[in-house]
C-alpha cells in the first residue's frame, strides 16, 4: 500500500496551469525524488500536499486518507512535515528554541496547566527538553544550541530545518532543495544523513533537488516534471538514460550537435 498517492492533481492560478494532471505513488520507506527544470511546479506540488494551496482538480491520499480538505496544521498532525526552499526557520529564536517549539505536539497539557504548573506540566516539559536535546545531538547541532538561528552557517540552517521537522514524529518528510548552497562534501554528508534518518525514524521521504548527484545517489525512484506536466518516472538509472529528461534539462540533442 502506498504511503502517499497523488491522483490526477492539477493546480491552476487563474489561467495559468502550474501543475497539470500529476499522478504518482510513493511506497513506504522509499526515498522518492522530484526533479525538473526551474519553474516546473515542484514546490507547487509540495504546497498542494501540505494544503498551503488548494488543488484545482484531483485527489491526494496519505495512507488512504484524503488530504484535500485538511488545513496545513492538520496535515502536519497526521504525519507529513516539510522544509522550505527559502529556509523558514524562526530566525530570531535560538537553535534550541526552534526545535523545542516544534516538539509541542509531544505534550498535551492545557493553558490552565501551564499557569498552575502542577501535574502534567513539569513532567512533559522535561520530556520535551530531553527530546530536543536528543534531536539536536543526532543532527550535530548540539554545540550550536544557543546560537540565534539566523547566525548559523547556511548548511547548518538547513539541517536545523530538518531537525525541526523531525520533532513532530512524522511518518513522511518532504524536503525542498535541502542541498541548495552546499558544497560537494556537505552534499555527501546530507545524503548519508537522509539515509540515516530514514532508517532510524522509519520515514518515507520525498525530495525536490537540483543536485543530481544527491538525487541519483540517494533516491529509490524519481519523478520528472516539466512545465507542470509529468515527463518521466523510474529508477535513477532509467531516468538518467531517458532521452526526454536529458532534452528537458539540456536542450534538444540536434541543436547541440548543430552548434558544436
Amino acid at each position: 500500500m502506498s504511503v502517499l498517492s497523488l491522483k490526477h492533481v492539477t493546480k491552476k492560478f487563474g489561467g495559468l496551469t502550474a501543475v497539470g494532471d500529476v499522478s504518482f505513488d510513493i511506497e513506504e520507506n522509499e526515498i522518492f525524488g522530484l526533479i525538473g527544470p526551474n519553474g516546473a511546479g515542484k514546490t507547487t506540488i509540495f504546497n498542494c500536499i501540505t494544503a498551503i494551496y488548494t488543488i484545482t482538480e484531483g485527489e491526494i491520499f496519505f495512507n488512504d486518507k484524503k488530504l484535500e480538505k485538511l488545513k496545513p496544521f492538520e496535515i502536519a498532525n497526521i504525519g507529513i512535515t516539510r522544509t522550505f526552499q527559502n529556509i523558514r526557520l524562526f530566525k530570531n529564536l535560538s537553535t534550541y528554541d526552534n526545535v523545542l517549539t516544534a516538539c509541542h505536539k509531544s505534550a498535551d497539557y492545557g493553558v490552565l496547566s501551564s499557569i498552575i504548573r502542577i501535574g502534567k506540566f513539569k513532567k512533559q516539559e522535561r520530556e520535551l527538553n530531553d527530546k530536543t536535546a536528543e534531536l539536536l545531538k543526532l543532527m550535530g547541532l548540539w554545540e550550536y544550541r544557543d546560537m540565534v538561528a539566523s547566525n548559523l552557517p547556511y548548511g547548518l540552517q538547513r539541517k536545523l530545518e530538518i531537525a525541526r521537522a523531525l520533532a513532530l514524529n512524522p511518518k513522511m518528510l518532504l524536503l525542498d532543495e535541502p542541498a541548495a548552497g552546499m558544497n560537494p562534501e556537505e552534499t555527501l554528508q546530507l545524503m548519508e544523513l537522509i539515509r540515516q534518518i530514514r532508517d532510524k525514524f522509519n520515514l518515507t521521504v520525498l525530495i525536490i533537488e537540483h543536485h543530481m548527484d544527491l538525487i541519483m545517489g540517494v533516491c529509490d525512484r524519481i519523478f520528472v516534471l516539466n512545465f507542470g506536466v509529468p515527463l518521466a518516472q523510474g529508477t535513477p538509472i532509467e531516468i538518467q538514460g531517458d532521452k526526454r529528461v536529458v532534452e528537458a534539462y539540456l536542450g534538444k540533442q540536434e541543436d547541440h550537435n548543430a552548434e558544436g
Binding site: 522550505f84 509541542h104 501551564s114 516539559e125
Partner: protein, 295 residues
Amino acid sequence: MSWVYFSGILIMSGINLLTVLGLSLLTGFTGLFSFGHAGFMAIGAYISATMTMKMGIPFIPALMIGGFAAMLSGLLIGKLTLNLKGDYFCIATLGFGEAIRLILDNIKYFGGARGLPNIPPYTTLTNVVVINIVAIIVLVFIIKSRHGRNMVAIREEEMASQVIGIDVFKYKMMSLAISALYAGVAGGLLAHYLGYIQPIMFKMVKSTELTIIVIFGGLGSVSGSVIGALLLTFLPEVLRSFYEWRLVVYGAAVILIMITRPQGLMGGKEFSFKGISKIIKRFRNKNKDDGEVKS
C-alpha cells in the same frame, strides 16, 4: 508631591500596565496589531460598574464579569477575522473600538455621552498591585510553556508554524481572548478608581497609546512592558509641558524605533539578574583592557 497624588499616578500606571500586559501577549508575542483595545477596556468598565452599582455584586467578581464580557467580544471579533489576512483583523479592531464608543454614546442605560457617575471607589493601590502581580505571573507562565512558544512561532513565521502542526487560528484566538480579558479587568479598575466613566475616555487615542507602550518596552518582553507602562504614565504627569507634545514625540519615536531598534528598550529580552551581572562583567572587562594598554 503628596502621597495621594503619587499613589494616584501609581494606580493609573497599574491600570495601564494591566492592559499593556494583555496587549503585549497579542502584539509583542503573537504579532497581531489591535487598534481597538480601548473598546475592551470600555466594555469591562461599563459592565463591572453596572454589576457593582445596579446588581450589588462585590468588587472582584464584578471585575471578572467585566473581563469575561470583554473576552467574549474579543472572541467574536476573532472568529470573524482571524482566519483572514492580517489587515482584516486590524480594520475590524479599528471599527470595533470606534463602534463601542458610539454605541455607548447612545445607550441611555449606560448614561449615554454623559456616562456613569457615582461609581463606588473600590480600586486601591493594594488591589491594583496584587492584580498586576497575579497578571504578570500568569502571563509569564503562559509564555514559558508550549503555548507561549507557539504564539512566538506564529509571530516569527506563520507559515512554518502551520507546517509544524500549530493551529494558528486557535492560538491567535487564545492570545486575543487573554488580552481582551486583561483589558476588561483593567477597565473595571479604571471605573472604580475614577468614580465615573464616559465613552469619550475610550477613544482610539487610548488604544494607540497602549500599543505605543508595548513597542517602547519592546515586542516580546514582559519586563519591557512593565517599565514602559510605569515610565510612560509617570513622564507625562511629571512633565506637564511634555504632556501636550507627548503624542507628537510618541508618534515620531515609534517610527524611529521601528526603523532602528524594533526590539525596543529591552531588546526582546527580560529583566534578569543574570543579565545585569553580564553587563557589569562586560563593563569591568572593558576597563581592565584599558588599564592594561596604559601600563
